[in-house]
Structures are given as structure tokens and as C-alpha cells.
Symmetry: C2
Subunit: 437 residues, 2 copies
């Protein structure tokens, strides 16, 4: 599909580039032009003179954006898509109780096929929120990859080694298999958390990281109890302990990063680790407020994740963006903390880089066409005093007019163009719900 999107405002998310008026041209899943209208070096189907190899491009669709905004899709840098089943199933509980008494017993009964179906439900929701790629940690990587491929959505999975189910050997197998699978799926080394892994297991994961010179991600310092437990076990906070066994020699990062000392933050900076913040989940589970302003000050890169639909419970990047800045302002007692452009960068560029997706970060020629259209003609975006601030402070899922992944429009004006449609997916989820809950 070759698509031309014209009469648009464009926020490329390249450094220091303001919103401008122009067009974007897409050929076979890649952006071939971002810029002013009429300056494209090739020709389109309407014009006669061929100036370059683009001469033969036919535009399958030319979309008048009516002044609306095109920007990179959001990257959800931490989620558990398969947990849609457990949305509103066990709320209003602290993390430990929620996990051990409510979540784990149901998860033990889920099949790989179930998890595929449940992940597809999550994909629908991501699309409505303009999320074009997710960093997913869950139980059955192959059925998850199948589900995302069938839906046409980009997914980076991360290992979830723990004492009970996933082994380092399985993670190594998936690392090889899913990284050679195709353009939409990839895999990064990881483990569930320090508190669910023996020291022996953790050492094996560090060894894997060294073997492949590859980054490692994990749940990190999410709750006070987790930090206290690690200090009891090893006399160190989780980042210090994990770094001491060589876990982060090739980078990676932590999900949550709520209870962090200045020494922890120094390690994050030194190792180039991403702090992936999940404010919706940390709020709902009463885990605490991450020190995002401290990360920014220290030069630690921050990305944003929704966490799973059982702890958040929405897969909504707009809500997360407002929470990241809002909670930072509250924590610092400073209304200037974490401004709108910082937040947009976290939700797009930084997420993309954390997930190892080098070509979905900004809108530019040569990059993958993972982009969204934001409807500026909704009342919550008016007047257009400052589009970036509007996105972060008053934007909502309602403003997502189109979501495109790898050059394919999967969601447009409230309709889904996925292979499997919502109705079928909801029915299958309901069958799983009746069986398991």
C-alpha cells in the first residue's frame, strides 16, 4: 500500500522540530517523505514528469488530514496484554495480595490459546489509544507473537524468567526464535523480578546477557516491600544487587522504578538503563510515585508503560502521560516539573529506543510508517494555543482518528481494520471468562 497523507500538521518528534504544515508519503510500510507539500522529489499518480525512482509510485490512498496532526505512534513500554481477562476482576487490593491470591491462581489455568485471544483484545484497545508498539511480558511468547502478527501489530516481548514457570533456556530459545520471525515481532532478554527469581536463576540470565551482548529488562523496585525484601536477602537494593552480579552490563532497564535511592539512580545512569514508569498501575495499587523528575535531572531516560489491564486498568497512553507529569508535579511540589515535550518524548522516542525499535521513533524518510492521526477538531483540543500541551494535558483517546502500523491503517474514525473484528474477539474472551472466572 502506498499512502499519501496531506493537508496535515506534523509533529515528527525529532529534536527541536516544531509542529509544521505538510504531508507524509508512505511506500510499502516505510515513510519516504515528510515535509512541505509540493516539495516531494518523486512524482505522484496525478503528475506527469518523472523525476526519480518514485516516478512509478501509485497512491492507493490519498488522505486529506483536514489540518489534523500526524505524529509517531505511542510506544507502550510495559504491559501484560494477556491480562485483559482480569480487568475489574480483583481491584482495590495491594500488589502482593492481588498477585498471589487473585491473579496467579487464574493464570495457572490459562492456555496459550487463551492468552492469544486475550492479547488480541488488548490490541484493539492499544489501537484506540494510538499505541503502535508494546513491550509485552507474559506467559506464552509464541501464541502472543501469533496474536500480534494476526492483528498486524508490533510487539516486543521480554523474557519473564521466574522460579515457577519460565526458565532461562526457554527465554534463550524465544530470543533466537522471535528475533528472526518477521518485521513486527521481536524479543528482549528479561526476568520477572528479583523477588521471584533465585540467585542462581538471576546469574543464568546475566550469563545469557553476556553471551548475546544484549540488554535485560525486569520489574524493578516497584514496591517498598520488594526493596526491603531484597535488602534482607542481599543487603542491597534491587538495582545495586542486580548490577553487582553483572546483570546490566549491556544495558536494559527496569519497569516501575518507584522506590529508588540516589545510588540506584546513579546505576541507571551509568549503565544507560531505561526507567519505564507506570503511573496508572502504581497509583491504583498504591505502590507510590516514581521519582521521574530525579531521573530527568540525572539524565536517566524515561519511557512510559500502561502495565497490564488488571492493575491499571486502562491501556490508555493519554491517561498515563497526564499521570506522569501530574504525579511528578505533586511529588516535587512544583508545577513546572516534567513538561509536555518531555512527556511526549517519553511516550514515543524513548519507548521506541528502550524496546530496541530504532526506526519507529520519529517521523522521517526511511523510518517505519508507525504513525497516528490526532483529531484537533474535538473540543478538548481547542483552541490550538499549544498542540504539545494540548496532547498531554487535555488529549484523550477520543482524539485518535487513525492508527497506522508498518504502513497499514488498522484503526480509523472508530472502526477497526484488523483481520479479526471486535465482536468475534469479545465472544471468545467471554467464553474464556465463563470457563476460568
Amino acid at each position: 500500500m502506498n499512502i499519501r497523507l496531506y493537508n496535515a500538521r506534523i509533529l515528527t518528534m525529532e529534536e527541536n522540530r516544531e509542529v509544521f504544515q505538510g504531508e507524509i508519503r508512505i511506500q510499502d510500510g516505510r515513510i519516504i517523505y515528510v515535509g512541505a507539500e509540493g516539495s516531494f522529489e518523486g512524482t505522484d499518480s496525478q503528475s506527469s514528469g518523472a523525476k526519480s525512482f518514485q516516478a512509478f509510485v501509485k497512491w492507493d490512498r490519498e488522505i486529506d488530514c483536514e489540518g489534523n496532526l500526524l505524529m509517531p505512534g505511542f510506544k507502550d513500554a510495559h504491559t501484560h496484554s494477556g491480562m485483559t481477562l482480569l480487568r475489574s476482576y480483583a481491584d482495590d487490593l495491594p500488589l502482593n495480595e492481588w498477585l498471589n491470591h487473585k491473579i496467579f491462581p487464574v493464570e495457572a489455568k490459562m492456555t496459550g490459546e487463551d492468552i492469544g485471544v486475550l492479547s488480541k483484545l488488548a490490541v484493539l484497545e492499544y489501537l484506540t489509544s494510538g499505541i503502535t508498539a508494546v513491550f509485552d511480558m507474559y506467559l506464552t511468547p509464541e501464541t502472543i507473537a501469533d496474536a500480534f502478527d494476526e492483528m498486524g501489530m508490533r510487539c516486543v516481548q521480554v523474557g519473564a524468567v521466574n522460579n515457577f514457570s519460565q526458565s532461562p533456556a526457554m527465554v534463550e530459545e524465544m530470543f533466537q526464535k522471535l528475533n528472526s520471525r518477521g518485521p513486527l515481532q521481536s524479543y528482549i532478554l528479561g526476568f520477572h523480578a528479583e523477588y521471584t527469581c533465585s540467585k542462581e536463576l538471576l546469574t543464568e540470565i546475566a550469563d545469557l546477557s553476556h553471551k548475546y551482548k544484549a540488554p535485560v529488562f525486569t520489574h524493578l523496585s516497584e514496591t517498598k516491600q520488594e526493596v526491603e525484601g531484597c535488602k534482607e536477602r542481599y543487603g542491597m537494593t534491587p538495582p545495586v544487587f542486580l548490577d553487582s552480579i553483572g546483570m546490566f552490563e549491556y544495558g536494559g532497564g527496569g519497569y516501575h522504578c518507584v522506590h529508588m535511592t540516589s545510588q540506584d539512580i546513579d546505576i541507571m545512569k551509568k549503565r544507560g538503563l531505561y526507567a519505564i514508569t507506570n503511573p496508572g498501575s502504581n497509583t491504583k495499587l498504591a505502590s507510590g510515585i516514581a521519582p521521574v523528575a530525579d531521573f530527568l535531572k540525572a539524565g536517566v531516560k524515561v519511557a512510559i508503560g500502561t502495565d497490564g489491564p488488571s492493575s491499571n486498568n486502562a491501556l490508555d497512553m493519554f491517561r498515563e502521560m497526564f499521570l506522569v507529569t501530574g504525579l511528578s508535579k505533586l511529588r516535587e511540589e512544583d508545577a513546572a516539573a516534567a513538561d509536555a515535550m518531555d512527556i511526549l518524548k517519553m511516550a514515543t522516542v524513548n519507548g521506541s529506543h528502550a524496546m530496541g525499535l530504532k526506526d519507529t521513533d520519529v517521523l522521517a524518510a526511511g523510518k517505519a510508517a508507525d504513525l497516528i492521526m490526532i483529531d484537533l477538531n474535538q473540543p478538548n483540543m481547542q483552541p490550538l494555543n499549544n498542540i504539545a500541551k494540548n496532547l498531554v494535558y487535555s488529549g484523550s483517546k477520543q482524539n485518535v482518528a487513525m492508527t497506522m502500523i508498518n504502513g497499514v491503517i488498522l484503526y480509523e474514525k472508530g472502526r477497526f481494520y484488523t483481520k479479526e473484528q471486535p465482536k468475534e474477539i469479545y465472544e471468545k474472551v467471554e467464553q474464556i471468562r465463563r470457563r476460568l472466572l
Copy 2:
């Protein structure tokens, strides 16, 4: 218009009544039936036998709700609609600086006509969020009432007496005028805040309250500085001081109520005052987290407001609902604090009662037909493990399929049925923006 909404799930918000399957019938702006399908005592246009006075009701529209949810519209219990102009105009500043250096200078230049137009923009946004009535405090009550009447939206205005513009005499005049104006507009006594009123002014307002035996509302204990300032001036916190001059003898309440002592909370309880919480604004301006859990424990009634679009910046009850519960959980370090049904009650029943709207609180025969339809067939509402929790924890404006006020559908499936349409309003707002900013 006589409207029948059938094949619906219904959440009436009456005490201890669960969601059930049924229909709602509306005649000339009032609900005449809420219950199971087929049990209505009257007859509709399709049936032959007349059983009651309802025999001659013709249904202008019969709407198949396709299993979606009908519930009372949300009540936005504190806002400044006319501030839409200032959305994303001066963000990332603390309240005092924001107000004195950015907001007041522009407001001084706004005309009543401007404020009418700007309020209409806010109305559009309220409708997209399922808000059917607002408690509005702003500068020119009559042009605001005109704007809301023209748009068909319910608005309760509150006096904003202060040292600079609104006098008690003007508030008294508006109290008489707007309360005899018509079904959609009403007016409640109030002043801007203790820190913007002399003691003499405050005494005059208390006198007005005694004269009319009427409640009084005001901004109350929003920031630490406000509380400290009041203690310096009068040796008391704002609630204690205001109560000491007889301000709350006939009830009323406070907007924000962030920095409250246990003595303040006792006064709220004793006087039956409403604590109207505005978490989006308090977050964005770094004002603090209101002690909502303490209010609930003490039996103080809580309602929810968005505050104005310059401090929040969204007029989105879904975001506010999540923030009220989320911030309470964080503040209490307790994931069970402020559960979903508490929050829904704040956003509907309590808001309605705080605003003096006795017949828009729940869905029942005899009540005004101010109701909304929530699309449960969006992925963020699936599966339907618990509809109330879904509304609060994963619901969004995207789920608002229809907003009806006083029996008139003003917003349905993304389209506005207001007299003035978005495009005209946006253009007028843009003209104001060019003139004033």
C-alpha cells in the same frame, strides 16, 4: 420529544441497586419509566389497549441500546467554563503565579460576549464526557446563562464575590434573576475565596445567606499558602474562620479542600458541607492531594469537579474519577481506598445534590431525563467483569455514546445536536484568541 430507550443495561445510581437489563421511557423531558421491558403500565404507539394516561404517548424515537449502559449524566461540580481560551496558554506554573501574572490580565480584557462563546466551547467538551450539568463560577453570569440555554445544557452558577469585580449586590441580583429564569439555569450564593475577599465582603455574603436561608460555596483550602495566609490574617484556617462568621449556617461547601485539618473536616460534617474535589487541577498546579478518604470516613459528602480548562486542562469526568480514587489510594497507601461505587456516587448523585439539583441525581420515574449511554462494546470495557469498576478504572470519554439533557439528545455517536455547531464555535473562539492572546 418522547423517547424510549430499550435493550439497555441500566445503572440508576439508586442506593444498593445493581445494574439490570431493561428500558427507560421519557416524555417531555422527564423519565416516566425505568424498569424491565414489557412491564410499563402505559402503552406505546405499537400496542392497542390503553391502560392509563400514557395511552396516547407516541414515541418519537425508539432507540435500541444494544446492551449498552444507561446511567445518570455526570455532574461537574466545579468549573470555570469560560476559561477555555486559556487552555495550554500558561501551563507549568504554580497557582499564584499562574493566576496573577497570566490569567487575571487576560480575563480583564474579556467581554461578556467572549465569555458566552468560550462557555459554548466548554459545553461541547462536557457533552463528549457525559457531563449533563456543571457548577460554574465565572465573570458574567447572564451571558453564561444565555450560552448554556442556547446550547441546551444545564448550568448552576455560583457567585464569585471578590474585592475586584463581583459585589454581593450583583450576586443577590443574579440569585433572584437566574433562579426564576427557566428549567436549565439556576444560581447559588458564593464568593471567590477567603483570600480575595475583605472581611467586610465576607460578612455581607454571610448576611445574604441568612436572608435567603441559602447555602454558600467558595474555593476552600486549595493551597498551603491560602491556609497560611488565612491563619496570619485571622488566626484560623479558612473553614474555621468562615464558619466563625456564620458563613455556613445554611450549608454549602468548598471547592478543592486539599489542605484540611481534622477540625476543618469536623466543621464540614457538622454543617453538612460538600467537599468538591478537583484532582486534575490540584495535580497539574501541584497544589496537593485532597484527603478524600478522611472525608468518606467522617461522613462528609464528596462531589467531583474538573475545575477550569486552564488549570486542568481537560473537562473529562473519567480522568477525574480515576484521579480521585488513584490519588486517594496513593495518599492512604491503601489500594482499597475510595472504591468504584463511591466514586460513581460522587460524580452523579452527590454532585447533583451539592448543586441543588434534586431531580437529576438518579434514574427513576419523575426525575429529569439527564442521562448518558455508555458504549460497552469498546475494548476498554471488555470483558464485563464489573461494570462499575470498568467505568471508573478503565472508562474513557470514548465510551460516551450519547448525552441527553432534559430529554433532549445533544450528543450521539460523536455528533453534536446543539443549536450552534463546533465549527462555528471554534471559529469564534479563534477570533477571540487572536484579539486577546
